[in-house]
Point group: C2
């Protein structure tokens, strides 16, 4: 595996570890200050790591107890200082309201090496929707 | 503007021109044979330019007459041979069933320079959904 690819793999592993531990700071450590994220749910976009931190904190605090998090079908393309990857991600857990969650989505991360450290400068997470019903497809399986 | 950035801008311009002309071949010319696309609507993914060509042909032939297509808020990050960009795209037209369409979505394109030519190897288009209703947000404005 090329060096850049191994480094992006390590970034993803750090995110997996952070989500499982519900560690907002750990998760945000890999995002650039001026990151722009297209997330699963409204609004259209989250601009800057401050907005993303708030969103991540809300998301991770919506779970009670341990969170299962898996990254499937990861494909990385990495050069010396620009990289991107895509995957299908899955989260499993129980919300603070006692609702069981098992949900998958498509994820793209775009990264730049800034001062020697890979940072996510753009992220895009989504599920497709059904053209007839207009409903988001919340039963994807990786 | 750096060279890579200008080249990716030209790739996007060629796609805009192709969509407006409902030119499937022109649109597909910028996609790598092994491209993987996460599209707006089901299914989960389109793997390979053959599957993408079929999808693009269906999409573009669903319109009657001229198609309006705009790419807003384009941000490009480009190195020598790896690049990515994101934007909000808008399509306007009338379907063959006479239904007026004016729809916007988030778009991410990830590219590699292959044999001297920039090609899209991964694309991700989506709208977010509303957590309460489970409905896709089809009224986005760029």
């Amino acid at each position: 595996m090329a060096k850049g690819e191994a480094e992006i793999r390590a970034l993803i592993d750090s995110q997996i570890k952070a989500v499982r531990a519900r560690d907002v700071g750990g998760l945000l450590a890999s995002y650039a200050p001026d990151v722009l994220v297209f997330d699963l749910v409204n609004p259209l976009e989250y601009r800057g790591s401050g907005a993303l931190r708030k969103r991540a904190a809300e998301w991770l605090s919506s779970f009670e107890g341990p969170v299962g998090y898996e990254v499937h079908d990861l494909r990385i393309t990495a050069g010396d200082d620009i990289a991107f990857c895509h995957s299908c991600n899955r989260v499993m857990g129980t919300t603070t309201q006692g609702k069981k969650i098992d949900m998958s989505w498509r994820a793209t991360l775009c990264c730049r090496k800034i001062d020697g450290k890979w940072m996510v400068t753009h992220g895009h997470s989504s599920v497709p929707f059904d053209m007839e019903s207009g409903k988001a497809s919340l039963d994807l399986k990786p």
